[in-house]
């Protein structure tokens, strides 16, 4: 069972309380006051400014300024404007959006209402990954309740503002998490990412101006409205304010969710919060932000979990999905699992991506089988280099980065396979 976070803060403090999932319980905790304030006391520009000043960055992986993104929506236009809420959460190692949907759906809807006011959007499409049947039910229930209470619909809380929320379920394709893949999927097509420009703010869902934000991004917004930018900046670092919900998985004593300020040190999360590796074994490497992000070796875990510091170590925060691998782990096997995933999920539009992911997977599998050569390692790096920055979407980069990371810090694992012509890690997880 999905359990509530072990450490909570403003996003998740009421997640243990079943009533919080209902409109009544959410209102009893002050719910929808922030939206009411925005719609009745603030102009859309005021809201955008406030969110900019607070410094909220998108929590879907790229970390773009949320207020800035909202400001890209055209003001003078006769076209309908839309929001899309990205609940596709398919980045391996990530499971925070799931709990935000299951335990606090009204919190997200309130964030959506505020964003809708700020951008002038009349409708939000929430795109929930197809496998999330239960989270989708929880959200639909909340939407129905909010509609019945006049919080969503033709006359939001009696203000005359119109906003509808439509839940769409995906159907099992990682690439639909990429924002333009998501838009294609919303339109009932294959989820193949679009060439940019035009960007979604000009040409988004059904050709209309659209802003795409992640589930968690929306969830922060009501708190910023209620308590202000300074309060929000009291969490996290100067450049990366606020908390996030880290998901910790792999070889730790207490895998689970931890809501902590951005900038919390990775070793504090892994050892103090998640209890470190079981049975006194040591950490070998940690993937800090979902599978697309390059791994860090045990010697680099003193890094604060914020993009400005992670970038110095050639990795990123991504989705905050932290995967811990202990000393028994064969990093070539890890590379096999990672490259298989990207090979399987490439949408196939770009040659570099379609062919490159296949090449990477075949090479690392060959090395793991004991049939690799030293030249294979060079080819692998060469393929990675050719995939980066060359394609329609960032998927190809996301496929190359983790392989580059493994070779940067664990090249010796690969070399040893080639020298011995077999896997030298008998106790590693089974492939």
């Amino acid at each position: 069972m999905l359990t509530v976070p072990y450490v909570t803060s403003y996003l998740s403090e009421h997640f243990g309380d079943d009533a919080f999932r209902t409109l009544e319980g959410y209102r009893a905790r002050g719910g929808y006051q922030a939206a009411k304030k925005a719609l009745t006391e603030m102009s859309p520009e005021d809201v955008v400014e406030l969110v900019k000043t607070a410094g909220l960055q998108g929590r879907g992986g790229a970390g773009f300024s949320t207020g800035l993104k909202w400001s890209f929506m055209p003001k003078e236009t006769d076209k309908p404007k839309y929001l899309a809420c990205n609940a596709d959460e398919s980045e391996p190692g990530s499971f925070k959006d799931r709990i935000l949907l299951e335990r606090g759906p009204h919190q997200m809807l309130e964030g959506i209402l505020i964003a809708a006011w700020a951008t002038g959007a009349e409708k939000t499409f929430v795109y929930v990954r197809g496998e999330y049947a239960y989270p989708a039910r929880c959200l639909q229930q909340a939407i129905d309740e909010a509609e019945a209470a006049g919080i969503l619909g033709a006359n939001v809380m009696g203000t005359g503002f119109r906003h509808d929320v439509v839940l769409m379920r995906g159907a099992g394709a990682y690439i639909c998490g990429e924002e333009t893949g998501l838009l294609e999927s919303l339109e009932g097509k294959k989820g193949q990412p679009r060439k940019k420009p035009p960007f979604p703010a000009q040409y988004g869902a059904f050709g209309m101006p659209t802003t795409v934000n992640n589930v968690e991004t929306f969830c922060h917004v009501p708190h910023i409205l209620t308590r202000g930018a300074d309060w929000f900046r009291g969490f996290g670092t100067e450049k990366s304010p606020g908390t996030t919900i880290f998901g910790v998985s792999g070889h730790v004593v207490r895998p689970g969710l931890y809501e902590l300020p951005l900038g919390t040190r990775l070793d504090e999360i892994v050892f103090e919060h998640a209890g470190g590796v079981p049975d006194g074994r040591k950490v070998k490497g940690v993937i800090p932000g979902g599978m697309s992000m390059p791994v860090l070796p045990a010697s680099m875990l003193d890094v604060p979990m914020a993009n400005e510091s992670l970038r110095e170590r050639k990795t990123m925060l991504g989705t905050g999905g932290i995967m811990v691998m202990d000393e028994t782990t064969c990093m070539v096997r890890a590379a096999c699992v990672i490259t298989y995933f990207f090979r399987d999920e490439s949408c196939g539009q770009c040659t570099q991506c379609r062919e490159g992911t296949g090449w990477m997977n075949r090479i690392v599998e060959r090395i793991e089988r004991g049939a690799g050569t030293h030249e294979d390692l060079e080819v692998l790096l060469d393929v990675c280099g050719k995939m980066e920055g060359q394609t329609i979407c960032a998927f190809a980069d996301a496929a190359a980065w983790p392989v580059q990371g493994l070779l940067r810090h664990f090249r010796e694992d690969f070399e040893e396979h080639v020298r011995r012509q077999k896997c030298p890690f008998p106790d590693s997880f089974e492939l």
């Binding site: 990530s94 995906g170 394709a173 009932g188 294959k190 995967m323 399987d344």
Partner: protein, 155 residues
């Protein structure tokens, strides 16, 4: 088999939510598949008519998404997540065990048509690994015995 009135009504309701009716294609496929088990060429033709697109457009969408099937499936879909966080906690060992007990390999259906077994990418349950899903229901924190109890309970 053809689309029931119920499914057709459901599709009409979904269409009203989108600025262009094609937006309701994924919801329509979910509805049709929930009733019929898979999307056959005939179903695709009927849907194409409803959406005023070509049957090939429907089939292309069906084949793009893992959760839509173009051929009959076992009564239950059992998917074991084998992505990295789950694999680190023994997912592939669990998968081998299930394959041996069911006498099939991932990708196959039991002879009685009861279970289609598959492996799957991360399902957002990484802290509760290993795990599997049966249709829309997640079963987490498993070992082989617990997994087999669940599978044995499927009709």
């Amino acid at each position: 088999m053809s689309l029931s009135e119920q499914v057709r009504d459901g599709i009409a309701r979904e269409m009203a939510k989108y600025p262009k009716k094609r937006g309701a294609l994924l919801p329509a496929l979910h509805l049709a598949q929930a009733e019929l088990g898979h999307i056959s060429v005939e179903t695709a033709k009927e849907l194409a008519e409803v959406f005023e697109i070509r049957p090939i457009d429907v089939m292309e969408v069906v084949s793009f998404y893992n959760m839509f099937y173009d051929r009959p499936q076992g009564r239950h879909h059992v998917y074991v997540c084998t992505n990295l966080p789950c694999s680190l906690r023994g997912a592939r060992t669990l998968m081998r065990g299930i394959e041996a007990r069911l006498g099939i390999e991932a990708g196959e259906t039991t002879a009685d048509g009861r279970i289609t077994l598959g492996h799957e990418e991360c399902l957002g349950a990484c802290a509760y690994a290993p795990m599997l899903r049966v249709g829309g229901t997640y079963h987490e924190d498993l070992d082989l015995e617990k997994a087999m109890q669940i599978l044995d309970g499927l009709e």
